[in-house]
């Protein structure tokens, strides 16, 4: 935020003291900033004022005599005289509270809000001691579920309009609304149409009474037995959260208002994901192969519990055996994107500095090369959405995958002056807020971007009409452009996306926000958990010598990515594979290759929190600590570092990921020299070119985190960071007129491990369906709900169809990781795109 200039400052007298307010600032905010708190219910800093509750009435003299005015609706004007403590103000507050309490049931002892309730608190502070109301209160049916996770108790509602404003203003899902306005006003949904918003949990957090409560937290604890800590949720946006626990169990996650990232909001998937942490299927003890009697034997059919000493020794001897037989190249590490940045560094050091293999990849064939991602000039979310700027979207639907970023985008599109150009293959949840929908055909996005950048907009390119191309070029012209880039579909190779990036780098003012899946993927790429890279956004070639001096050894040549490792496992050249919270069987785009690769490995060592399908087939399983069970640092898509705090203990003997790496190194007769996350961070700060000057103290102290690289030249003596060079453009695949081009995207609720281990979310994952444009569906004779056979060059699957206007002509969308049908069977990783034919059954 820029400092206000003199012209922006207006003098206001508050309770006899002259204070400075910003011109246009609401009186309630100006008072709070200057240490005078005015009670309120409806006012919320992230939403427009409505003046519903009248609690913030204060006596204001703006030149025409003192009168009571709602301070949440009143912009400060010069010379305003405000009295927040006058007798008249007090009488108004007293009266408003007495009115609010007329119909409010006094069931505080059973109410989840009791103890942290603004209505309780303000009644104690400003209210009348007793009610004069002796009549019967209003009665409604006690809590009614308005969605799968939210209960509504209309008796407790004070009609502040916060939830309904959130639903329509912030989330854009106005599925709850005032009804029967008048003396019987109530908030409710339309009959049989639930408040099925991805953001419904936020309404529970902002409700100033106990009218909205969350099912996962319902009656689990009272506020006074919760302990809390501010932390960061490990998603790509690095949402700031408050983690609350009682008796060593995480019971609630609340959003924290960080100006830089999530503004206090969270998606329901993140908010309620804590249910998985205390799931009884968590891995609590190391497991090794053993017989049915529970004895550890090398060739046993089952996984049996064992001690850490035995399990680590088994893992170490497998690694040693592979080292002796096939060299460091016969060992690979897949995953690590969900670890803390420190743990990622420690694992990178173990793999590259101790074992000496470069076969390390945190992405499972659904990301972008680290050499590209870490080389791009980055922007911050706030600057990307500053008025007058333009945003290009080339990612998964942000509403489905990156909820809080979607809310920021939505806010910027509604309130601010930004233009949004969508290049993703299908329309996102932003809908009509997008300025230009130039939905490039999969495989052609590079050409589309090139046409927009070069201004060659007179002919159709990649399924985008000249009108859209012209509009896109116009929307980006003379604006600061931020390209939010990821992998919108795994059925399309990364090549065309990189071509699009290369085209956009030629724009005059451009920066990027790499938005890839998996929590701390930015940290993983920064820490070199990817082939050819070393910690600090530097390459093996550039930084090899620097790290060899620090670590002792560094691989000479670039290693294999996940697909390469699985292929090497199949042909026998890779014998030991470490899975760091990765589930290739469910997550790698080629399920067949994943299963053949894992089966062919002599030893699979899995570090995970749940026994996923890949873990169940591992030889050594090491239980890891989950979110809130260990401390560290998170890196978000901007390169923003923010602290992850420990709140509870890991279950059983599960250990933090960095500690597992250190133990494993010790068993390999090596000392990583790391004793804590802090010591790991000190080493990162000392060695990594991109992290110079970002000390652990600075990261902890900054409320909104710390963006790297730091602007100062603290890292001047270190190896150069990787720079972007455009690769040879990918060939454009000609269109097959009889086929639809496949888009395999992701949805918020799927068969993912965490979602499926959360009782309140598991059932929200729909069955897989193929969506296509209604005209394409009509041409194929497919009606809504028809079962169709979808055939690619590789396989065919059967699933129900759904016509959808959001899908452009000539494309078919099948979500990944949904029950019913596995779209991955259709995808051939070796081809740039996948064309499918659809036939009715």
């Amino acid at each position: 935020m820029t400092a206000p200039t003199d012209a922006d400052v207006v003098p206001v007298t508050v309770n006899g003291v002259e204070v400075e307010a910003n011109a246009g600032e609401l009186l309630i905010d100006a008072c709070e900033r200057n240490g005078v708190y005015i009670p309120r219910f409806c006012h919320h800093p992230r939403m427009k004022p409505v003046g519903m509750c009248r609690m913030c009435l204060v006596e204001v003299d703006a030149g025409r005599g003192a009168s009571l005015q709602p301070s949440c609706m009143l912009p400060c004007t010069p010379g305003m005289i405000v009295d927040t403590e006058s007798d008249l103000t007090k009488k108004a507050q007293d009266g408003v509270l007495e009115f609010l309490l007329i119909n409010h049931p006094l069931d505080c002892p059973v109410c989840d809000k009791g103890g942290e309730c603004p209505l309780q608190d303000q009644t104690m502070a400003y209210g009348p001691g007793e009610s004069r109301f002796v009549e019967e209160k209003r009665h409604y049916e006690k809590p009614i579920p308005i969605s799968d996770t939210v209960y509504l108790d209309r008796e407790r509602c004070i009609l502040c309009d916060r939830c309904t404003r959130f639903a329509s203003e912030v989330a854009g899902d106005p599925l709850i609304h005032f009804q029967d306005r008048g003396s019987q006003t109530q908030v409710n949904t339309f009959p049989d149409e639930p408040f099925a918003s991805y953001f419904s949990g936020n309404t529970v957090q902002i409700c100033p009474v106990g009218a909205l409560t969350a099912k996962p937290y319902r009656f689990k604890a009272r506020p006074w037995d919760l302990e809390e800590v501010d932390s960061t949720f490990p998603n790509p946006m690095g949402d700031r959260v408050n983690v609350q626990s009682s008796r060593d169990r995480v019971l609630r996650i609340q959003g924290v208002d960080s100006d830089a990232t999530n503004w206090g909001w969270l998606t329901d998937r993140d908010r309620f994901s804590f249910e998985a942490l205390s799931h009884d299927q968590r891995l609590v003890t190391p497991l090794v192969r053993g017989d049915s009697l529970g004895n550890a034997t090398d060739d046993g059919d089952e996984l049996v519990a064992t001690s850490w000493a035995v399990a680590v020794e088994r893992a170490a001897s497998a690694i040693t055996a592979s080292l002796e037989a096939g060299g460091a190249e016969s060992i690979g590490v897949i995953g690590g994107a969900n670890l803390t940045t420190e743990a990622q560094y420690v694992w990178a050091k173990l793999a590259k500095g101790v074992i000496g293999t470069d076969n390390v990849d945190a992405q499972l064939g659904d990301g972008l090369p680290a050499q590209v991602v870490t080389a791009l000039p980055r922007n911050t979310i706030s600057d990307a959405m500053a008025p007058g700027s333009a945003v290009v979207l080339l990612v998964d639907d942000p509403k489905e995958q990156f909820g809080t970023l979607f809310l920021r985008l939505r806010h910027a599109a509604v309130e601010g002056d930004i233009t949004i150009v969508e290049l993703s293959p299908i329309a996102s949840g932003l809908g009509s807020l997008v300025t230009v929908g130039a939905h490039a055909r999969p495989g052609d996005v590079g050409a589309v971007a090139r046409a927009i950048v070069d201004g060659r907009t007179d002919v159709e390119v990649g399924g985008v009409e000249p009108a859209e191309l012209q509009a896109a070029a116009a929307a980006l012209a003379a604006r600061a452009v931020t390209v939010i880039v990821g992998r919108p579909s795994v059925a399309e190779q990364a090549g065309p996306i990189i071509d699009a990036i290369a085209a956009f780098t030629e724009l005059e003012s451009v920066s990027f926000l790499p938005l890839l899946r998996r929590g701390n993927i930015s940290g993983a790429l920064d820490m070199g958990l990817t082939p050819g890279m070393l910690p600090g956004r530097t390459t093996l070639a550039e930084g090899g010598e620097w790290y060899r001096a620090a670590w002792g050894t560094v691989p000479a040549d670039s290693g294999l990515d996940t697909a390469g490792m699985l292929e090497a496992a199949v042909d026998g050249s890779l014998t030991t594979l470490v899975l760091l919270g990765a589930d290739p069987l469910a997550d790698f785009p080629d399920a067949d290759l994943a299963s053949r690769g894992l089966a062919a490995c002599r030893t699979v060592i899995a570090v995970d929190i749940f026994a996923s399908s890949s873990v169940a087939n591992a030889d050594v399983v090491l239980p890891a600590a989950g979110f809130a069970e260990g401390a560290g640092t998170h890196t978000n898509l901007e390169g923003r570092l923010s602290p992850l705090m420990q709140k509870v203990n890991p279950p059983g003997t599960a250990r933090a990921d960095w500690l597992i790496a250190a133990e494993l190194a010790w068993a390999l007769r090596a000392d990583l020299g790391i004793e804590s996350p802090e010591s790991a961070w000190a080493e990162i700060e000392r060695l990594a070119p991109s992290h110079a000057g970002a000390t652990v103290e600075q990261v902890r102290a900054a409320h909104d985190g710390l963006v790297i690289p730091r602007p100062d030249d603290a890292g001047a003596d270190r190896p150069a960071m990787v720079s972007f060079s455009a690769p040879v453009p990918t060939e454009i695949v000609p269109v097959d007129g009889y086929a639809l081009r496949l888009v395999a995207d992701r949805r918020l609720y799927d068969q993912g491990t965490i979602v499926q281990h959360c009782a309140s979310m598991a059932h929200q994952s729909d069955l897989a369906r193929i969506s296509m444009h209604p005209l394409d569906a009509a041409a194929l004779g497919v009606r809504d709900g028809d079962l169709v056979r979808v055939t690619s060059a590789r396989a065919s699957i059967e699933l129900p169809a759904r016509p959808d206007r959001c899908v452009p002509r000539g494309r078919a969308v099948i979500p990944l990781n949904r029950a019913g049908a596995d779209v991955r069977a259709l995808i051939d990783l070796a081809t740039v795109v996948t064309d499918v034919r659809v036939a009715t059954l």
Partner: protein
């Protein structure tokens, strides 16, 4: 100091032999306990058998010794345990920590937890010292359960809930003489206590 002095000294001793005794043959014989003695807790039920506890954890929150552990749960709709939405699912008191201050009784919004006059209970294990909800809850007859290691005598369950809270309306002169208690299983509605305005139960 002569012989006479020692005789005089014993005079008091022998004289007391014929006074009324102030000691009792405890534990064979117990003295009457004061009406407001704080003993072991009981969890009460309403006259219809429903539990009074709603699992609000106010008792746990106020407890200075941190000896109470409560967890609430959604009342099953078809077979509710307590009136309302929530019931006490877990209720434990650790008597190795309890100081019988009765703040829990004051905090309770439903008179669910009250204290009996029983203090004679000793345990042989730490587990026994942690009273669970099953042990604290009054039985089907509405009377406190007698655990094997507890020495209940007649009348010690009397006045269990007739302890007048300082913050209760009957602490206020205008409420004196009015029954401020819900009826309860086994005892029904109790007589009001005398107030604090100096009367002796008129």
């Amino acid at each position: 100091m002569g012989l006479l002095d020692s005789v005089r000294g014993f005079g008091l001793t022998f004289g007391k032999l014929f006074d009324e005794r102030v000691t009792t043959e405890y534990p064979a014989e117990k003295r009457e306990k004061s009406e407001r003695l704080h003993g072991r807790h009981v969890l009460n039920r309403y006259e219809d058998g429903m539990e009074k506890c709603i699992g609000c954890e106010l008792c746990a929150g106020v407890c200075p010794a941190n000896c109470i552990y409560v967890r609430g749960q959604d009342n099953p709709a078809d077979d509710p345990v307590s009136p309302g939405e929530r019931f006490g699912f877990v209720y434990e008191i650790n008597y190795l920590r309890c100081i019988h201050c009765d703040l829990c009784v004051e905090a309770c919004p439903t008179e669910a937890i009250t204290e009996s006059k029983l203090f004679e209970f000793s345990f042989t294990s730490r587990d026994d010292a942690i009273y669970t909800k099953d042990e604290l809850l009054v039985g089907d007859d509405g009377k406190p359960q007698q655990l094997p290691w507890e020495d209940w005598r007649d009348g010690e369950d009397q006045h269990t809930s007739a302890w007048m809270r300082a913050t209760a309306p009957s602490g206020d002169a205008s409420y004196e003489g009015r029954v401020a208690w819900a009826g309860e299983l086994g005892y029904g509605t109790r007589d009001p206590e005398v107030g604090q305005s100096g009367g002796d139960g008129d």
